[in-house]
Amino acid sequence: MSDEEDDLILSELNDEELTEQMMDDLYDGLKEEIEEAVQILLDRNWTPYDILTKSLVAGMQIVGDDFRDGILFVPEVLRAAQAMKGGMAILKPLLVETGAPKMGKMVIGTVKGDIHDIGKNLVAMMMEGAGFEIIDLGINTEAENYIGTAEREGADIIGMSALLTTTMPYMKTVIESLSEQGLRDKYIVLCGGAPLNEEFGNAIGADAYCDDAAIAVETAKKLVAARHNQV
């Protein structure tokens, strides 16, 4: 980091400069700077929703794209996610109060036997940033837990993540279990994780496989809208 950046006083930047700076800071995984900048924008009467979408989500999208293109690697993505999480923690209670748009509810978790959660957490955060309510079941998630929680919470979407060849097939178990209980059509089922692909998503009967968090958000919005148009 250069001295110049060290000396930067965030509160002296105008709105445009500050949001630009926030995207840089997010990219560099600077959690404290992000938290400070979020607070400054709140003090300037920005709505929590605008702060979220115009700085944090927008910045994280760049991180996601550069990860996909092999410019950024796992540690950098993880640090950026941590920084965004810091900002989100400030905004989340305020988003509820200020009635930000509600897109739908998603239950998400990494499947049984698998405890990789970096990708899953990223998807959860970006979905949250896009206005979805998220119930995160964490790792090593059993079918009963996905389905029971979705039923209890009245979720629209069930999201499953798997990073291991040995745990991918469990997604099919969950979908079959949904079908057996006559619940398959009640939920939009999304799946993801590095070793998966579209073909696999189709084969297990998911509604969609998503390559990354940005696509997950897009797909979820599209499928939820299509479903609303049906009824």
């Binding site: 690697f73 990073l163 070793p195 692909n197």
Partner: protein
């Protein structure tokens, strides 16, 4: 092609196996295309069982960190060597290719190891599939020696030690699947567990299904 007993220590240096792989070694008419992380292990099995029909070549072990590149690299190697050998064996598991490597091997008509990754085939598929230890992180001989290059640094733990709980917070123990009896290496693996703040366990596996895979090729 070099006879196996003339192979230099330099060629088998971990850094070379990691970044370059290994050129054809052996005089047999069956070629084993293996992950660089298995070079010493394949050679040991060949020597122990006098598998003179085998020749070994390795792809860079570092591909392990970007598994989507493995199928193309294997395909290139098969195409390059096909004409010179009677048979080709691929000493890889799925390794996170999501079934792509198996699809490729089926298409090329070559045999690979039927296992998700090397931890499973060293342990032995039969036992591994019954082990219910999702909160375990595994090391092999190669990975114990190369812990910094394959685990610590790619995860950025050298630069950002505070990420440790985010990576390993849900893990409980590190199991070192040992291919050889080597006290020094056991200490290295134990130290890795300490750095990851995980409980340490050593499990001697020998060469597991890798050994069987290579020995069985004799009968074909």
């Amino acid at each position: 092609m070099k006879p196996i007993d003339t192979i230099s220590d330099e060629a088998l240096r971990d850094e070379n196996l990691r970044d370059q792989g290994l050129g054809e070694t052996g005089t047999g008419k069956t070629l084993v295309i293996a992950c660089g992380a298995l070079a010493r292990e394949v050679l040991a099995v060949i020597e122990m069982n006098a598998l003179e029909h085998l020749t070994l070549t390795c792809l860079p072990a570092i591909l392990h960190n970007e598994p989507t590149k493995i199928p193309a690299a294997v395909e290139r190697a098969v195409t390059e060597h096909r004409a010179d050998y009677d048979q080709i064996l691929v000493a890889y598991g799925d390794c996170g290719t999501g079934g792509q490597l198996q699809t490729l091997c089926d298409r090329l008509g070559v045999t690979m190891i039927d296992a998700p990754h090397c931890y499973a085939f060293f342990d032995g598929m039969e036992v591994f599939t019954t082990r219910d230890e999702p909160t375990t992180f595994y090391l092999t001989d190669f990975l114990a020696r190369q812990f910094d290059t394959f685990v610590w640094k790619p995860l950025g733990l050298d630069r950002y030690p505070d990420l440790l709980p985010m990576y390993f917070g849900n893990y409980e123990k590190l199991v070192y699947l040992a291919q050889t009896e080597d006290e020094g290496l056991t200490d290295v693996a134990r130290e890795a567990a300490e750095r990851l703040r995980l409980r340490f366990e050593r499990r001697f596996t020998g060469y597991g299904d890798l050994g069987r895979f290579l020995v069985d090729s004799q009968r074909d």
